[in-house]
């Protein structure tokens, strides 16, 4: 009888082992690893800053790598023993117990052995690290927030060093040299002169290219809208109920966010390779991007409709199509039109950028002029683009205000 209960208890605790190990990982191991990563980063950033400003070259570790390991682990141990570290903050823990110098010192010395918590976890529900066991300090949930100004904490200083060294390293990595703005100015004089003497005889050509660009945008938008409308109903959470519906919803949203995260310029490069450079490649790039962008905007609008009218129209005995026509569409039609205009507006601007990477239209010609230092010609095209963007901005804002 006794042994039976003992065995049952043992079995019970065996079953808990995976959960305990998981807990040790989450509360003890990962926060400490986060601290080590942070300190290693600070090491690299301070080294880069120092080497750049002292010697004029970039080095992320001036000393041999094992120096970095020693320093990072030593600072990590001190930080953990005397302050609430970044990792401890993340999991909302603090060190509590006999917090005299001797205990803290012992804790710091034993801190590097924190991965052993994975070994104690099966036997100890608290998964104590060697430091916790021997120094009689424990990581407990934060109870009282003791306020100390940042300059009285190690964390505060480490954060300051991290911020400053990040800025310093950034200057080094991007080679910021304000002086060159002055020394290199005379090289641009030809450019400025050219800008103020546009080749107005190219106006006709420019307008033709501008027209081509606007039509690229219209084509892309016009073909994207019907597809996006259809897809948006399938990508609206409130319409896609049930397991199959949910699956379609998730897949569409995933494809959408993936496609959208690839910039239209990248799509233009892909299509320029695929179908050859020219307007068609540009149209395809804008088309793909517009579909997924509009699908998301439309779907969110469908998700935001007031379900009341849907219920009321259903209650009159109307069928699904009638409910769609009389309760759903009136609520979404204006936002849909507004989004479409907005997207067309974006497409016209993007058409010029997309053109630069082989998508045809005015952008393609502009980049050719710029590459061959034909600035007077480039200026004409640039002025036309500015005027068009400005006019469109005004027009679409006016139209959208009407739709609101």
């Amino acid at each position: 009888m006794r042994t039976f209960f003992a065995e049952a208890a043992l079995l019970e605790s065996l079953r808990e082992i995976p959960a305990r190990v998981g807990w040790a990982l989450r509360i003890k191991i990962l926060p400490a690893l986060l601290d080590l990563t942070f300190l290693a980063y600070v090491w690299a950033a301070t080294n880069a800053t120092y080497s750049y400003f002292r010697f004029g070259f970039l080095s992320f570790s001036l000393l041999p790598w094992w120096w970095m390991v020693i320093v990072v682990v030593a600072v990590g141990a001190m930080w953990s023993a005397w302050d609430q570290t970044l990792g401890m903050k993340v999991v909302n823990r603090e060190l509590s117990g006999e917090t005299d110098f001797a205990s803290r010192f012992l804790y710091a010395v034993l801190w590097p052995f924190f991965p052993l918590a994975l070994l104690t976890a099966p036997f100890d529900p608290k998964a104590r690290t060697p430091g916790e066991l021997l120094a009689e300090l424990t990581l407990t949930e934060v109870r009282l927030i003791t306020y100390r100004p940042w300059y009285r904490t190690l964390t505060g200083w480490l954060a300051l060093i991290a911020i400053l060294s990040t800025l310093g390293a950034a200057v080094g990595v991007t080679k910021v040299e304000p002086g060159r703005l002055v020394t290199g100015f005379e090289k641009t004089i030809k450019f400025w002169r050219a800008i103020f003497s546009p080749r107005w005889d190219l106006l006709g050509l420019g307008l033709k290219l501008l027209g081509e660009t606007v039509f690229m945008a219209i084509m892309a938008t016009a073909f994207a809208v019907p597809i996006a409308v259809l897809l948006s109903f399938l990508a609206a959470r409130n319409l896609m109920r049930g397991p199959l519906g949910r699956l379609i919803y998730v897949i569409l949203r995933m494809i959408g966010s993936f496609t959208r995260s690839v910039d239209a310029v990248i799509w233009a490069i892909i299509f320029a390779v695929w179908v050859g450079t020219g307007s068609f490649a540009g149209v395809l790039a804008l088309f793909v991007h517009s579909i997924v962008d509009l699908m998301k905007l439309y779907a969110e609008q469908i998700e935001a409709i007031d379900p009341g009218p849907v219920e009321a129209i259903t209650a009159t005995g109307a069928n699904h199509l009638q409910v769609l026509r009389y309760a759903v569409i009136p609520q979404i039609i204006n936002p849909f039109l507004s989004f479409t205009l907005y997207r067309w507006d974006i497409n016209v601007r993007m058409a010029t950028v997309v053109g630069m990477v082989g998508g045809g239209g005015i952008g393609f010609r502009l980049i050719q002029y710029l590459r061959s230092w034909a600035f007077p010609e480039a200026t004409v095209l640039t002025i036309l683009i500015i005027l068009m963007v400005w006019a469109l901005d005004w027009l679409s804002a006016r139209l959208r205000a009407k739709l609101a």
């Binding site: 219920e311 009321a312 129209i313 259903t314 209650a315 009159t316 005995g317 009389y326 009136p330 204006n334």
Partner: protein, 254 residues
């Protein structure tokens, strides 16, 4: 034969496993004005929506004119819904549409899908829409957008939409809870008038004083079960406390 019979109706919402109605049975005679009362969350809305199956009952049976609604196909149910008008606490009008468009929507079930999708309604329906709007005193607002109207006016449009269905049964889910007391009475009087013209009315009301004033009979729900079914006069102080809880005080809506 009673107009409406509800037998052992139970509704459990899958989401949250909430038992909104439990074993509810009652019947309503033709032309009756029945009022549902109960605390919020007691199941009034669920009960009304089970009758026209906007909410699918979990078990139990519902008969209208002896026809078992709970057995009907979706298509047959749509036909029956045409004769059941409904008005809502939040009015549920299409706000961007005109008053006329909202009222015409009451005829959707009677017209062919194709012509209504094109937005066309028979002349007869237009005439009827004018009549219904005249009955609720809003003929002059016909071409105004619904969101331009006050709450009371919007609810009257809701009533006109229900009237368009030429209903034999009117379900009203807290029709005046979003309105101030004076407007409440004016709206309730339109509903009372519809009842006098022979339409059976089931209305849920938040205030007992309104229920007493308009109801011929009262059913009280508590946690999804019927705790009172009888004449308004029969609700005394003790019954009141049983329905609304010990702390409740009766207030008057004038």
């Amino acid at each position: 034969m009673p107009h409406l019979v509800v037998e052992n109706l139970t509704k459990v919402y899958e989401r949250g496993k909430i038992r909104a109605l439990f074993n509810v049975s009652f019947s309503v005679e033709k032309g009756e004005f029945l009022v549902l009362i109960g605390l919020s969350g007691s199941g009034k809305s669920t009960l009304l929506r089970c009758i026209n199956r906007l909410v699918e009952p979990t078990s139990g049976r519902i008969f209208l004119n002896g026809v078992e609604l709970t057995k009907l196909s979706p298509r047959a149910m749509r036909k029956v819904r045409r004769k059941i008008g409904m008005v809502f606490q939040q009015f549920n009008l299409v706000k961007r549409a005109t008053v006329l468009q909202n009222v015409l929507a009451g005829r959707l079930g009677y017209n062919s899908t194709l012509s209504t999708l094109l937005g066309r309604f028979p002349k007869e329906d237009l005439r009827r829409a004018q009549e219904c709007l005249e009955r609720v005193g809003l003929l002059d607002k016909m071409y105004v957008r619904a969101d331009q109207l006050s709450g009371g006016q919007q609810q009257r449009v809701g009533i006109a939409r229900a009237l368009m269905q030429e209903p034999e049964l009117l379900l009203a889910d807290e029709p005046v809870s979003a309105l101030d007391p004076a407007t409440s009475h004016s709206v309730m009087q339109y509903i009372e008038q519809i009842n006098k013209d022979g339409v059976t009315v089931i209305a849920s009301l938040h205030f007992l004083s309104l229920a007493r004033r308009y109801g011929q009979r009262i059913i009280a729900l508590k946690a999804g079960e019927i705790v009172f079914d009888g004449l308004p006069e029969a609700i005394d102080d003790r019954k009141f406390k049983e329905i609304y809880g010990e702390e409740a005080e009766e207030v008057e809506v004038r």
